[in-house]
C-alpha cells in the first residue's frame, strides 16, 4: 500500500512539473495555431541560465526566476515579431518547419557554448517523511514553484486586459481585430509568454533534472502529450494533462519498468488523439 501511495505522490509532483512545462506550448498552439518546436530548447536555455548564475555567481535559482522569465519573454517576443508573425497564417507544415529550423540554430548555439555535459544544481535540502512516504524537499520546492507559476499564468489570463485580449484572439481572430485588438502584438506577447513559461520551467527543472541539450526533444515530447491529453490553449487543460501524464508515467514506470514510462505516455496521447481530440477538458471547436 505504501508503495502505491508513494507512486501516487511522485506522479502528482511530476505532473505539476509537466503542467508548468507544457502550459506555454499549449498557449502558443491554441492561440497562434503554431506548433512551437523551439519549446524544448527554451526550457533548456532557462535551465542553463539558472545553472551558470548559480555556479558562477552563487545566485539562488528562486532569485534567478524573474530574471530568466524577463529574458525569455524578450527573446520570444522578438522571435515572433521579427520572424514567425510573417508566416503565422501559413499551413502547419510551414510554421512547424520554421520553428524546427530556429530550434536547430538555438540547439547548435547552446551545444557550442555550454557543451552537452549534463549539469545540475544540487540544493541539498534533505527530505521529509510523512508517514510511509518520503518527499525530497528540493522536488517539493520545484513542484510548489511549478504550480505557483501555472496558477499565476491562469490569474493573468483571467484577470488582466492582456489576458482577456489573448483569449479573445483565440476565440475569433477576425472579431477581435474588429474590436480594436492588435492581433500581431497579441501574437508576439503570447509567444513571449510561451517562452517565458518554458524558461521558468527550466529554472525549476535545473534544480531537479540534469540540464543538457540532449534532452530538449524529450521535454518537447512531453509538451505534445500534455497538450493533446488536456486540451489546447487553456491553463486548466495543461494542468489536467500534466497531472494525468505524471500519474500515468509514474504508475507505468512502477509496473512495467522506467523504460516503459515514456512509451505509456505516447500511447495515451495517440489513443486520445483518435478518440477525443479536444482533450480531456477541451471545448469543442477550440481544437
Amino acid at each position: 500500500m505504501a508503495i502505491y501511495l508513494q507512486t501516487l505522490v511522485n506522479g502528482l509532483m511530476l505532473g505539476a512539473l509537466y503542467a508548468c512545462l507544457a502550459v506555454g506550448f499549449s498557449l502558443v498552439w491554441g492561440v497562434l495555431n503554431v506548433i512551437n518546436m523551439l519549446h524544448g530548447s527554451f526550457i533548456i536555455l532557462g535551465g542553463y541560465l539558472t545553472y551558470f548564475a548559480w555556479h558562477a555567481y552563487g545566485i539562488h535559482p528562486v532569485i534567478m526566476l524573474p530574471v530568466v522569465a524577463a529574458l525569455m519573454f524578450a527573446l520570444g517576443f522578438a522571435l515572433q515579431r521579427g520572424l514567425i508573425n510573417k508566416v503565422v497564417s501559413a499551413p502547419v507544415l510551414t510554421t512547424l518547419t520554421l520553428t524546427f529550423g530556429l530550434d536547430m540554430i538555438l540547439y547548435n548555439a547552446m551545444t557550442y557554448f555550454f557543451t552537452a555535459t549534463p549539469r545540475r544544481i544540487t540544493l541539498d535540502l534533505g527530505a521529509i517523511s510523512l508517514g510511509p512516504i518520503t518527499l525530497p524537499v528540493d522536488r517539493l520546492l520545484g513542484t510548489g514553484l511549478a504550480l505557483l507559476l501555472t496558477l499565476l499564468l491562469y490569474a493573468v489570463m483571467r484577470g488582466s486586459s492582456i489576458g482577456r485580449a489573448i483569449v479573445a484572439v483565440r476565440m475569433d481572430r477576425m472579431a477581435a481585430e474588429l474590436m480594436g485588438i492588435r492581433t500581431d502584438r497579441i501574437y508576439a506577447i503570447t509567444f513571449g509568454i510561451g517562452a517565458l513559461m518554458a524558461g521558468a520551467a527550466g529554472v525549476v527543472f535545473a534544480t531537479i533534472f540534469p540540464i543538457t541539450t540532449n534532452v530538449t526533444g524529450i521535454w518537447l515530447g512531453k509538451a505534445f502529450v500534455v497538450c493533446v491529453v488536456g486540451g489546447l490553449g487553456s491553463v486548466p487543460g495543461a494542468l489536467v494533462g500534466g497531472l494525468v501524464l505524471g500519474l500515468v508515467e509514474s504508475f507505468a514506470g512502477h509496473w512495467f519498468g522506467p523504460q516503459q514510462a515514456m512509451t505509456a505516455g505516447f500511447l495515451l496521447m495517440l489513443v486520445l488523439l483518435l478518440t477525443r481530440p479536444t482533450g480531456l477538458v477541451g471545448v469543442k471547436g477550440y481544437e
Binding site: 506548433i35 520572424l83 529550423g101 523504460q259
Partner: protein, 310 residues
C-alpha cells in the same frame, strides 16, 4: 512540366548519379548514393505531403522499421535482396493499417500524431531487447567485396529505389489517384462530396509514402552493417526529408528529388567546413527557405522565365 523535358531531366539526373564511379572517387560515389537515398525518401513523402497536403512526419518511422525488418530477416538467413523486399511489403502493410487510423486526423493533430509514431517506434524497438537487441543495436552479415565494389553496388540499389519512386510518382500524377489526391489537398470535404473515396485515397498515398522509405531503410541497414534505435528513428531525419521536398517544390514530380540533391550537397559542404556549426547552418537554410523560396527551387524557373512551362 511537359512530358519530354520531364523525361529528359529525369534520365539526365539519374545518369549523372549513376556515372559517379566514372568521374569521382569513393567519397563522390558515397555522396551520390546518399543523394539517391534521400531523393527516394523525399519523393516518397511527396505522395502524402505534396500531393495530398497532409503534414506527415512519419518518414523516419518507415525508414527505421524497414531497416529493422530487413536486418532481422537477414540475421535469420534470408538472402539480402529478399529481405529488402520483405521489409518493403511488411512496412507498407503496417502503413496501410496505421493510415486507416491516423488519417482521420487533420492538420496539426495529424502532424503531432505522425511525429508520435516515430517516437513510439523508437521506444518500442529500444525496449524490446530480446528481438531487436535494444539500445545495443543489431549487427548485419557483412557483404563481401572491396569497398569500391560495395559502394558502387549500393549506389545502384539506391538508384533503383529512387527511379522506382519517381516512376510511381509519374504514374500517380497522371492517374485518377493523383487527381483525387490533389482534390483532397484543395478541399477534402468538397472532394468527398463529389465522390472521391477520400479515406481509400489517403491510405493509398500514405502507403506509397512508406514503401520506398522501407526499401531505402533496409538497404541502408545492409550497407552500414549496424543499426540502433536512436539512429534509425530520428525526428531530424523526418524533418530533413520534409525540408528537402519543400526546397525542391512539394507536389511537383521532380522537385523533391532535386531538393534532396541540393540539400545533401549543401550539407556535405557545411560538414566539411563548419564542423561546429553545421546544424545551425542547416537551420538557417530552413529559415531562408521558408521566407525567400516558399514555392521551392522549381518555382524559380517560373519566376525567371515568365510564361515558361511550369
Amino acid at each position: 512540366m511537359k512530358p519530354l523535358p520531364l523525361y529528359a531531366s529525369l534520365v539526365v539526373g539519374l545518369a549523372i548519379l549513376a556515372a559517379a564511379p566514372l568521374y569521382g572517387d569513393n567519397y563522390v560515389v558515397r555522396t551520390a548514393a546518399i543523394v539517391a537515398m534521400y531523393g527516394a525518401l523525399a519523393t516518397s513523402w511527396n505522395f502524402i505531403g505534396g500531393f495530398t497536403g497532409y503534414p506527415s512526419f512519419s518518414t523516419a518511422a518507415f525508414f527505421g522499421l524497414g531497416a529493422y525488418v530487413g536486418a532481422l530477416c537477414q540475421r535469420s538467413g534470408v538472402p539480402m535482396v529478399v529481405a529488402w523486399a520483405i521489409a518493403s511489403v511488411a512496412v507498407a502493410a503496417f502503413a496501410a493499417l496505421l493510415g486507416g487510423i491516423l488519417l482521420r486526423l487533420r492538420g496539426h493533430y495529424f502532424a503531432i500524431g505522425s511525429i508520435a509514431v516515430v517516437e513510439l517506434c523508437r521506444l518500442i524497438v529500444s525496449s524490446w531487447s530480446s528481438l531487436t537487441g535494444g539500445g545495443d543495436g543489431l549487427n548485419l552479415p557483412l557483404v563481401q567485396g572491396t569497398p569500391e565494389d560495395l559502394m558502387r553496388f549500393f549506389l545502384m540499389v539506391m538508384l533503383v529505389i529512387l527511379a522506382a519512386s519517381l516512376l510511381v510518382t509519374i504514374l500517380v500524377d497522371r492517374s485518377r489517384l493523383g487527381f483525387g489526391l490533389r482534390c483532397i489537398h484543395q478541399n477534402e470535404d468538397a472532394a468527398a462530396m463529389v465522390g472521391v473515396n477520400t479515406t481509400a485515397y489517403k491510405v493509398a498515398a500514405y502507403t506509397l509514402s512508406a514503401v520506398f522509405c522501407a526499401a531505402a531503410g533496409a538497404t541502408y541497414a545492409s550497407w552500414t552493417g549496424y543499426i540502433d534505435p536512436t539512429d534509425s528513428f530520428q525526428i531530424v531525419l523526418t524533418v530533413k526529408v520534409v525540408v528537402m521536398a519543400l526546397l525542391g517544390g512539394a507536389g511537383t514530380i521532380l522537385g523533391p528529388a532535386i531538393g534532396a540533391a541540393a540539400f545533401v550537397l549543401l550539407e556535405e559542404v557545411f560538414w566539411a567546413n563548419f564542423i561546429d556549426w553545421n546544424r545551425a547552418i542547416l537551420g538557417l537554410v530552413i529559415v531562408v527557405l521558408i521566407f525567400f523560396l516558399p514555392g521551392g527551387l522549381l518555382s524559380l524557373r517560373r519566376r525567371l522565365m515568365p510564361g515558361g512551362a511550369a
